[in-house]
Symmetry: C2
Subunit: 361 residues, 2 copies
């Protein structure tokens, strides 16, 4: 395991903002990107936090991300819009798309905005929780580089294709944000970095056979040479692998297909663009009656789940988003753990971008 | 394994229609119920076909289903409605709810109708495919008697909570219809009937420990004495069990919570009512541009999936709904397999209802 160092959250924020400004994002844009990245570190979703800055750095400097892109609304109705991001930074077009869906939901009760030709948008839960804070149900999906094999298939054709869903509740919002694969790519990367074997049932090789070799699976994904992560439910259909496969297709429809963009199997195939697509659905609970009563019914049900009998060896049932909310509140006020190789990487990038990395101390 | 007998599909339909008329459903209502039941037998989803008539018979004669109920729209907006079924037969209120959502989608681009205080609605895919035939994206969810344990829990708190999704495509509509548990209840019932052990990873006992005893799990579910089926992804979080748990909660929200009805853990708790809830979402693809282009993009992607490399030992990748469409077309014109105990049961019920069971020969 890599060693971790605790970094002050405010220092990490200041560093991120300066770094993104160095690529010529505006101060406001840099603040938005930093907010979304740090939300992942606060939530303990390290894979989507500042350890991913290396990837953004590469995508910005290689031209996959166009810092000066002006996303364009190419189709618009009272309830819906399609936005061509024109290779904008994912977080920036995503937050505007979510906010547009919220405006439509406020006016009409429902809004859906699909985005094409974008880039990685960070954690989907950030957007759905923002909708939930406004009193809405928020749903977000995004496709990603093809990494998941179809049921009975042996080549990555679908992305990890997360689905996030959030709705306001006390004391914690219900916030569900998961890939439709057994595990997200980040979990394989952690195994590879730490030279640990993969658990059986996570990934298959180029013949569709079980494999425990994380580094090889990732290498093949990058080279598009077959193999990949299994859909949620695992191999075949015995434990429902076809269900994860179907959910992955659903995400492709709401992202690449409805937006006029591309599906995961075409992402990162052309130099200079990723082609990632995303979709934001916002629903006003007032479509169903008194929103306070609906919220109370949800809270009552979540309490019933929390207090239901526990499995042997467990003393707590976690509602989706609960653990994240607890750790986020604490970390936002104090420090985040950053692994040493990531810190070294950030310092190298800072030097290249002429940003003061002493902010990270 | 039980022996099966092939029954003419037209004879099975005639028998079902006569049987449901014997409970005082109208001819038109009896035809709708029979259609939805037989759609399951045609699709090879035996658990939801005419073998379930015994359950409907019991629910009708015990008063859980009110044959003369008049469902009431208790909340209505341009985009949405909430219907109190007043214990109507599930299929009858469900098809009206789906059709109402389609009307709203045709007018506005989107429609959502949630139903409370209903009964078992049959296969969710029937409704979503009906929406798809109209050119829409259809989504259907329903809660059910609590049978699924939460992640780290040991008591059934959620139903099998299916999610169905359909969209038109050639040569087969995309039609995805799955429980959010590892397996649906029917698979346990088949194992119990055939005295076969459950595969590990399907169900747990009252302490939340792995179990292979199907009969005991079902008995405990009925007695509400703990244990149950695992959420999609299995036990704990290693292979994503928390994802199935979260999807199950999402279904509870769209069904019991938004409709002002009850969640699965309260279903079948009061004699004389089930309390099952359902939800129907319909989205017009015209919200995103040219619907023909969208359909073509979907068909192209599904073809890419079909022709992608196969895992060792497999020569075909099945798109959700494809196998079902193939077998349905054939069976609707010929015969359906019905197991002998079901046939005996149907003859007993026919005798009680004074219906001619020779129709089944």
């Amino acid at each position: 395991m890599n060693a971790y160092q605790e970094i002050s959250s405010s220092a990490a924020r200041a560093f991120c903002q300066e770094l993104f400004k160095s690529y010529h994002f505006s101060t406001a844009e840099s603040a938005v990107i930093s907010d979304i990245l740090l939300a992942a570190d606060f939530a303990g979703i390290e894979s989507h936090g500042i350890q991913r800055i290396i990837r953004y750095h590469e995508e910005i400097t290689s031209g996959c991300v166009d810092v000066h892109a002006v996303p364009e609304t190419v189709f618009d109705t009272k309830l819906s819009a399609v936005i061509d991001a024109h290779k904008a930074m994912g977080q920036l077009v995503a937050i505007n798309a979510l906010d547009l869906a919220c405006v439509k939901a406020r006016d009409q009760g429902f809004g859906i905005v699909s985005v094409r030709n974008a880039n990685h948008i960070g954690i989907c839960g950030y957007y759905t929780e923002r909708a939930a804070q406004e009193g809405f149900i928020g749903i977000c999906m995004t496709n990603t580089e093809a990494i998941a094999v179809p049921t009975f298939g042996s080549a990555g054709m679908l992305g990890t294709n997360p689905i996030a869903f959030a709705m306001n509740a006390d004391p914690f919002p219900l916030s569900f944000d998961v890939s439709t694969t057994v595990v997200p790519r980040g979990k394989l990367e952690v195994c590879a970095k730490n030279n640990e074997p993969l658990p059986l049932g996570w990934a298959v090789d180029e013949e569709g056979r079980d494999t425990t070799n994380a580094a090889e699976v990732i290498d093949r994904i990058v080279r598009k040479a077959g193999g990949g992560i299994l859909p949620l439910g695992g191999a075949g259909i015995l434990s429902g692998g076809h269900k994860g496969f179907g959910l992955g297709i659903l995400v492709e429809i709401f992202t690449g297909i409805l937006s006029g963009g591309i599906t995961s199997n075409h992402i990162n195939r052309v130099p200079g663009e990723t082609g990632i697509c995303a979709s934001f659905l916002v629903l006003d609970c007032a479509l169903f009656g008194d929103t306070n009563e609906i919220k109370k019914r949800l809270e009552h049900f979540l309490d019933e789940l929390r207090t239901s009998p526990k499995a042997q060896g467990h003393d707590r049932i976690f509602i989706p988003g609960e653990r994240k909310a607890e750790v986020s509140a604490q970390r936002a006020q104090s420090t985040i753990p950053v692994n040493k190789p990531t810190l070294d990487e950030l310092r190298r990038i800072a030097a290249l971008q002429d940003v003061d990395s002493r902010l990270l101390c």
